[in-house]
Structures are given as C-alpha cells and as structure tokens.
C-alpha cells in the first residue's frame, strides 16, 4: 500500500511586478523613497531615478508627503519608468475623494505602474497649507478594498465594469511604534483582509516595539499572508533625528539614537547615521517575517548606496525584465 503521491503545490500566482517577483522568490528586497521634487523639469526626477537604478528594487513616489505640495506621484512614477526604475505609487486619502483615487489608479495602471501603496496621509495641519480643506472621503482600508475590487472583480466601487482592470501588487503602511500598540497587529490584519499584499512600516528605531509587533503578527497567523518591509531612516545629521522626533507625528526616536548622533562631530554624523542604519538592518534581518527594508532619507540620497552595499545587499538581483501581464 503506497500512499498516493501528494499533489504538487499550486504554482504561485504570476508575478504582478518586478518587486512581486523578488518577494515571491524569497529575496530580501530593498525599496527606497524618491525624494520629493519641486521642479517642472523632468530631469529633476530623471536624475534621482538614475541615481537609484540598480541600487534598490523599487522606488516609492510619495503623495504630497508631510502634507506639502510636490511634483505629483503619478507623474514621478511615469518619469521613473522612463529611466527603467520600477515605481511604487503612493495614494493618500487626504487630497482626493473616491472618484479621483479610482481615476488615478486606472491612469497609473495604463502608464505602466505595477505597485501601489494605499495610506491615509499626514493631515494638512502638518504641512505648509494648513488652511486647506482635508478630504478624507474614505480611509486607507477602504482604498485597499477598492483597489482590490478594481483588480480582482474588474469594476469600480460603484459596480460599473472596467474595460481592462489594473493588475497591481497592492501595498499598505503600518506604524508598529504608535499607540494603541496592542491594536496595531490587528489593524494590520484588517488591512490584509481589505486587500494589502505587502506592507511598508513607519521608520523603525525602536527594535523592542518592532519585535513585539512582529511576534504578535506571527501569532495572529498574518506572516503567511503578507510581506513586511521595515522602514529604515538614514540620518545625515543629529538635527534630522530631532526633526523626526519633534516634527513628524507617529515616529518614535529613542533618546539613545539622538545622543549617539550628538556624540560625534558634525562632519562625521553622516557616517554615524549610516552605521546606525546598518545596525538596524542587521537586527531587522534576524526577525522572522521581515522580507525587506524600505530606506528613507532627508537630502541624503548618496547614503542609500552606502547602506545597500554595507549591508551586503549589493548588487541587487538582476533587474527583472518586463513585468508579467
């Protein structure tokens, strides 16, 4: 009596993007944030794209980050594609209602964008136009579900059919470092239920909170359902760490980090920042369920290559050919 042969495991679904292909292959991925630009010249984005190409796997195009107006993320994503860089389009609920968000998702897909990240967005009060009318028609979880409806059911939220649905890999953000800490892993579960397939976390400096969050996420059985990329900031100056702590809501910068940056003379603070980022990445890689890192800087783009190299993550896996589908 021989046991019947176990059926072959089902093939993983076709990769939706280059990033998706790397995640499916189990590579430790590296994404980075495109510095926001305030220029009407396409070269501003082209130069940044050239500097990041081959050094990271995909690049986030931020959506009026910190509630400051900048060159739009859809245009930035298109300009990155011009230079052979894979974009991740961020969509925030602060500035657009459900019609505009769906219109932009469809437009992005038509332009060749294959990764999106849905978020609520910093409030207008954090930016340079605090008098603006905030929209918040829907929240990030609604947006995730709507993206999923468009992709998987081929309709708008209203039910009206799309001619050709988008084929995005759908991402979300989560902040493991902000209260209510106990609820955060469950909120992650809601985002996965709504449609998130990968997560980029808020900037991580507090490794204890990160470990706690990941342990709880594992207990909830969520690690098999989502790829989590940890947010890592590369500080150039001690001032930058203070700015994050005091001016960017929701970021937890423990005092020892700031003291450490303060303890070295200004010209060497950039090196210290790289060292801090490398130590964080090393610790993050030891946590079960962390599938990659998302690098962020403030006017410190050249440090991204130093960190990718220093962490032994360079060269990146061969840039993928044309995204499938």
């Amino acid at each position: 009596m021989s046991e019947p042969a176990a059926p072959d495991p089902p093939d993983p679904p076709a990769a939706r993007s280059g990033l998706h292909r790397l995640l499916q292959a189990g590579e430790f991925v590296v994404t980075a944030e495109l510095p926001a630009t305030d220029s009407a010249e396409p070269t501003s984005v082209h130069h940044l794209g050239d500097a990041l190409r081959g050094r990271v796997d995909a690049v986030n195009c931020t959506d009026n980050s910190a509630a400051h107006a900048h060159l739009g993320p859809l245009a930035a994503a298109h300009l990155l594609l011009d230079r052979g860089v894979e974009p991740i389009l961020q969509l925030a609920c602060r500035d657009r209602n459900r019609l505009a968000l769906q219109a932009d998702m469809l437009g992005a897909a038509a332009l060749g964008v294959r990764n999106i990240v849905c978020m609520t967005g910093d409030d207008v009060s954090a930016g340079d136009h605090p008098e603006a009318k905030p929209i918040y028609d829907i929240d990030s979880i609604h947006l995730l579900r709507i993206a999923r409806i468009m992709r998987d059911r081929g309709t708008y939220l209203s039910g009206r059919p799309l001619e050709h649905p988008p084929t995005f890999l759908i991402g979300a953000v989560e902040n493991p470092f902000a209260p209510p800490l106990e609820f955060r892993p469950m909120r992650l579960g809601k985002k996965i239920e709504a449609g998130a397939e990968f997560i980029q976390t808020q900037i991580c400096f507090n490794m204890d909170k990160m470990r706690l969050f990941m342990a709880r996420t594992r207990e909830l059985g969520l690690l098999e359902r989502v790829w989590i990329l940890a947010g890592v900031f590369i500080p150039r100056t001690a001032r930058a760490t203070r700015y994050l702590r005091d001016m960017v809501p929701g970021i937890d910068v423990p005092d020892p980090v700031i003291e450490r940056m303060d303890s070295v003379p200004a010209p060497r603070q950039g090196d210290e920042g790289v060292a801090i980022a490398l130590e964080l990445i090393q610790q993050l890689r030891e946590i079960e369920g962390i599938s990659g890192v998302h690098l962020m800087t403030i006017r410190n783009e050249e440090a991204i290559l130093r960190v990718v190299e220093g962490a032994g993550l360079f060269p990146r896996p061969r840039p993928s050919p044309e995204p499938v589908r």
Binding site: P179, R187, K190, I192
Partner: protein
C-alpha cells in the same frame, strides 16, 4: 407614510419635519451630549468602543492612523486623546461587540450627514452599500 417606508438612500439629506424632526432633535441632543456625536447618520458607536469615529479629524472608520503621538494623543489636535486609542480601550471594556473592532467597516455615505441614524436604521437607509463593495472576494491571499 410613503416616505417612512422609502428604503432608497436620499439623493440629499431631506429636511426633517414633524415626528422625524423630533426624533432627529432627541438623537442629536442626547448623543452630542454623551458621545460628542457628529451625526453622520450611520452610527457604528457600538463597534468602536463607544468612541465616535467621526470625531477623528481624518474621519477614519477602521482604526487609528499612523500619526498618533507617543502619549496617545491626536496629531491634528494634540490636546485631544486619539479617538481610536479611546475606541480600543473602550471596546475592551464592553460586554458585547468587542470583536467588531476587527471588522472592515464600509465607506461613509456622506448623503446621510445630519440625518438621524435611528431613522436611517428603521428605514434601512443606512444599509446602502455600493454595488462593488458587496460580497467582496476573500482578500489577503498572495
């Protein structure tokens, strides 16, 4: 009578008159005083630990944003405790509906602003769901 049985969502919020106005005023007076209710007309207080989610400056219906300050206060109104920190704590104390915090709540129907959620419950106006939202496929698989 025809109006009270009308289950279609109103194109715009119809002016409340007569008994409907009385219901609206009673709901508004009691819920504003007790929960700082914002009269969204589609109440989910019991699902959010009796903390009105429409008090959140970002109108979040599904949990806190990432900007909650380290002391648990709101990033937009720093003197106010985060509505969702209160919701989480409140939901843990409720005898029922505790697991509602983990449900995905549907988008707000903004046509119901300033109408009575009690009336909308009875007429099932608050049960309107966009066609695409209904019976969504199981999400979350890779």
């Amino acid at each position: 009578m025809a109006r009270t049985l009308d289950r279609r969502p109103p194109a715009t919020a119809p002016a409340a008159r007569g008994i409907r106005k009385t219901i609206l005023l009673i709901e508004k007076a009691t819920k504003e005083a007790t929960w700082d209710c914002r009269m969204c007309g589609q109440c989910i207080l019991h699902s959010t630990g009796m903390s009105c989610p429409m008090r959140c400056p970002k109108n979040l219906r599904n949990g806190p944003c990432g900007g909650v300050l380290q002391d648990g206060h709101c990033e937009v109104v720093p003197e106010m405790k985060c509505v969702w920190v209160q919701a989480w704590e409140g939901s843990r104390k409720l005898p029922f509906w505790r697991e509602h915090m983990f449900h995905v709540e549907r988008p707000v129907d903004w046509r119901l602003q300033e109408t009575s959620s009690w009336e909308n419950l009875l007429t099932r106006r608050d049960a309107h769901v966009p066609q695409g939202w209904r019976d969504p496929d199981g999400a979350g698989d890779r």
